[in-house]
């Protein structure tokens, strides 16, 4: 069944073997002892029997009583194992005999030698009868000697007993085996499981109190030691692994940092290269700017000299006595001088303008500008020039858009572009102005001519000072500065300027500016406010209002609003200086002040007014496009009476005016009350 003999089977075999040996030895010993005892007891018994018989029969022999001897012998019938018996007298004659009923034996005629003989399973004994030291006769006994049969019986019994004992031992061992093998097998099982699973937390059960239990304890201790060691090993392993991981992480980190460093070095290098490139470019630019400046200076000196040349030349002719000239001639020379002087003035103005722009000294007043209006103004201004040259002007009919710009400068820009378009046009050509949205919150104003067009090279050189693109020798007067100034101004207003040109067809110059909401129209003001007119007008002269504003549109609006109020008279000034002068001269009741003003700005102007005792008490209302809360706060802190925000809300405006009027009336009343008692 089981190929490997288990402990249980071994134990069983050992016990069986030991039991068998013990049984054989004990049974053998018992048999030997018993046979010996049987032999001895039989011999002893027979001897005793013979002795007894002899003793009993001694009177029979002594007194020659055969009957008595026979009676004595016949008592042997009580001993079935005794086959035969006989008594011989002292003379060796058969005295009496006995033969067991079923036996067929003959008694010897004469006594044999005294002693015991064994033959054929029979015991024969001769024993002398002595009494008082005297031989009386001999007793003969013949008995069964069953030692062999007995031995055979014993062997059979021993065999059966052994079988029985072994059987019982086997059955008992099957049970008792458990007692010994179970704890061992339990340990073995645990050991096998531990080996199989590697789970050192298993413990062998302590099923007994013997050495196996000690083994189990030792085994458990060993297991716990192994477990502890394993744990330590595992934890140290995991520690090592963790360290390794940390190390690898640190390595990765280092690598990453290295890479970052390399990346940064690379970036820095690139930046450096770029910076170097930029530097080189900047140097190049500076160099070229320097060159341009030199060229500009030389050009400027040349350009300035040219009209001066004419002026001085003609003036010399006029003043020279050697060169007499007619009146007509004189008039012509004076005209030349006048023309050259004008040209020079224009030149100088433009140069100054450019210089101002370049030095950043130009203050722009950015505000919503209605394009339609400004285009109409420009058209009317360039119309005579175009008419002289037979050039048709085409302007858009309704350009309702508004842009954020400085009105004066925008007009300057447009005039420059329009005059160029007229000047460098072909005979009978046309100039087309247009405005259109060009992107989210952007508006493009374009001026197209029908001139000769420009080379791409020329386009590149276009916005450089004194570069007139080959027109230097041409008939048209020009400074070569106009486009440069124009470009600068557009850029200052946050716009862009550009040109597209095709040779022989013409060029189109365009500027792009931020679109904005239009200022509220005057029609709205008229519609809304007739009711509120003159509500607080008291007796006497109308109150004087001074409005300092550079934007004509705003001025016009306020003029219109005020014109509905018979109690108000409006004075206006286009910049801060003039405003202050007017305030000092007329001492108005109320001053409306723009903040972004050319020259002195509104806040500075307020300070100047406050510093002058004549004007210090005049309430000044700010009226400005600077609408940020910070600006409002700053304005009120600076001392403005009210702070109104453009575009002008007429209700607000009227209310502010009325409040201020009420304030003035109250002040007048308190002054009057103060002066009345005196």
């Amino acid at each position: 069944m089981n190929p490997t003999p288990s402990l249980r089977r071994k134990l069983l075999r050992v016990v069986m073997l030991v039991t068998l040996v013990a049984l054989l030895v004990s049974v053998g010993t018992i048999i030997a002892y018993d046979l010996r005892a049987y032999h001895q007891s039989l011999v002893g018994d027979m001897s005793t029997q013979a002795e007894l018989l002899g003793h009993m029969s001694s009177p029979a022999l002594a007194f020659d009583d055969q009957r008595l001897a026979k009676e004595n012998l016949s008592l042997l019938r009580l001993r079935p194992k005794v086959n035969a018996g006989a008594i011989y007298n002292a003379r060796g004659q058969l005295f009496a005999a006995y033969v067991a009923p079923t036996q067929d034996v003959t008694v010897p005629r004469t006594p044999g030698a005294e002693g015991v003989e064994f033959s054929d399973g029979k015991l024969t004994m001769f024993r002398a009868i002595r009494d008082n030291g005297e031989l009386l006769g001999t007793v003969y006994l013949r008995s069964e000697y069953e030692i062999l049969a007995r031995f055979a019986d014993y062997v059979l019994i021993a065999l059966l007993a052994s079988l029985l004992a072994i059987g019982i031992a086997y059955l008992m061992m099957r049970r008792l085996n458990e007692v010994i093998t179970k704890p061992v097998l339990a340990i073995a099982d645990v050991a096998r499981e531990v080996v199989a699973t590697g789970d050192y937390s298993r413990r062998a059960a302590r099923l007994s109190d013997d050495e196996v239990a000690e083994l189990a304890d030792s085994f458990n201790k060993m297991l716990s030691v192994i477990e502890t060691r394993t744990h330590e090993l595992e934890s140290s392993n995991s520690e090592i692994a963790r360290e390794a991981e940390q190390r690898s992480q640190a390595q990765k980190e280092i690598m990453r940092l290295n890479e970052e460093l390399e990346q940064r070095v690379h970036e820095r290098t690139v930046q450096l290269e770029r910076a170097n490139g930029e530097l080189a470019m900047a140097m190049e630019e500076a160099k070229s700017a320097n060159q341009a400046k030199s060229a500009f200076l030389s050009s400027m000196s040349h350009e300035l000299r040219t009209p001066l040349n004419a002026i001085l030349g003609f003036a010399q002719i006029l003043t020279s006595d050697k060169l007499p000239s007619t009146l007509a001639q004189k008039k012509e020379f004076a005209n030349h001088i006048l023309k050259s002087g004008r040209h020079l003035l224009t030149l100088i103005n433009e140069i100054l303008d450019l210089a101002k722009i370049e030095s950043g000294a130009v203050a722009l007043s950015m505000e919503p500008v209605a394009l339609q209006e400004i285009l109409q103004e420009c058209e009317s201004m360039v119309a005579p020039l175009a008419g002289q040259r037979g050039i048709r002007l085409l302007f858009p009919d309704h350009c309702v858009a508004n842009v954020t710009a400085d009105r004066t400068r925008l007009k300057q820009i447009l005039l420059n572009l329009l005059s160029n378009a007229i000047k460098y046009n072909r005979e009978g050509g046309a100039v087309v102005a247009d405005c259109s949205p060009s992107g989210p919150g952007l508006l493009r104003i374009s001026v197209q001519d029908t001139g000769m067009g420009l080379h791409p090279d020329q386009v590149r050189m276009l916005f450089q000072p004194f570069n007139r693109l080959g027109q230097e020798s041409g008939a048209e007067e020009g400074t070569g500065i106009g486009l440069v100034v124009t470009k600068r101004l557009v850029e200052l207003m946050g716009g862009t300027i550009g040109v597209t040109s095709s040779l022989g067809v013409g060029s189109m110059f365009w500027i792009e500016l931020k679109a904005t909401e239009p200022v509220p129209s005057r029609v709205d003001a008229l519609a809304v406010h007739p009711a509120g007119v003159g509500r607080h007008r008291g007796e006497g002269e109308p109150a004087t209002v001074l409005y300092v504003e550079d934007n004509p549109a705003n001025l016009k609006l306020v003029e219109e609003i005020i014109s509905f109020r018979p109690d108000l008279r409006l004075l206006s000034a286009p910049d801060g200086h003039l405003g202050i002068e007017l305030a000092r001269a007329h001492l108005p009741d109320i001053i409306l002040m723009d903040i972004n003003l050319p020259g002195v700005n509104g806040i500075d102007a307020l300070k100047l007014l406050r510093n002058d005792p004549r004007t210090a008490d005049i309430p000044v209302i700010a009226l400005t496009a600077n609408a940020m809360p910070r600006d409002v706060e700053k304005g009120l802190a600076a001392g403005f009476f009210r702070y109104l925000i453009k575009p002008i809300n007429i209700d607000e405006f009227t209310e502010a005016i009325n409040n201020t009027m009420a304030f003035l009336a109250q002040r007048r009343d308190t002054e009057r009350e103060r002066s009345t008692p005196t």
Partner: protein, 193 residues
């Protein structure tokens, strides 16, 4: 006497054999009526053998090895044979002495008394009466002894010598007679009878 005794002693075995031979041939002799000698010899042997089966009360013997004295009265031939038989023999470690009794002899010191047929009835009665109450085993010969009141009486049956035992006399004399001997007896008179 001494040398003879000595010789006899030396030839004890041969003496024994002789006795046994005599006993064996006794019937033959008896039947021939000529074997008086053999009869006497057998009687002597019986007397001697009786001693082995009888136990005397304490105080009957002065010492442990004091001789056992057999008085023989009225039977000199038997005494003669007895003297031959007991010569050199002992019973239970005691030597045997044979004393021939005459009328008037004291019975003191006697252990056995054989009253032979030669003695007349009166004398025999007298003698037995004298022994009564004393520890003396009394044996009488022949048929006439029946009424005499002896403990043991010889009887001839089928030409063999047998004996009877009267236990009441023995008990009166404080003697104990072995049961084995009683088995061999022809008749036993019990105490109560």
């Amino acid at each position: 006497m001494a040398p003879r005794l000595h010789t006899l002693h030396r030839n004890k075995l041969s003496g024994g054999w002789l006795l046994l031979l005599a006993m064996a041939i006794f019937p033959l002799l008896a039947s021939a009526q000529a074997g008086r000698l053999l009869e006497r010899q057998v009687k002597a042997a019986y007397l001697y053998k009786f001693a082995g089966f009888v136990e005397w009360p304490d105080g009957c013997f002065a010492r442990a090895d004091s001789p056992l004295v057999i008085g023989v009265a009225g039977a000199d031939p038997v005494a003669e044979q007895l003297e031959i038989a007991v010569a050199g023999r002992n019973v239970n470690g005691r030597a045997l002495q044979v004393r021939r009794l005459r009328l008037g002899d004291s019975l003191s010191g006697m252990h056995m008394l054989f009253v032979g047929a030669a003695l007349d009835r009166t004398s025999a009665m007298e003698l037995l009466a004298a022994s009564r109450g004393q520890p003396v085993l009394t044996v009488t010969d022949a048929d006439e002894s029946a009424g005499l009141g002896a403990m043991i009486s010889f009887i001839i049956v089928d030409e063999r010598l047998r004996f009877e035992v009267a236990l009441k006399y023995a008990a009166a004399a404080r003697l104990r007679i072995s049961a084995r001997m009683l088995q061999a007896a022809l008749r036993v008179q019990q105490v109560s009878s």
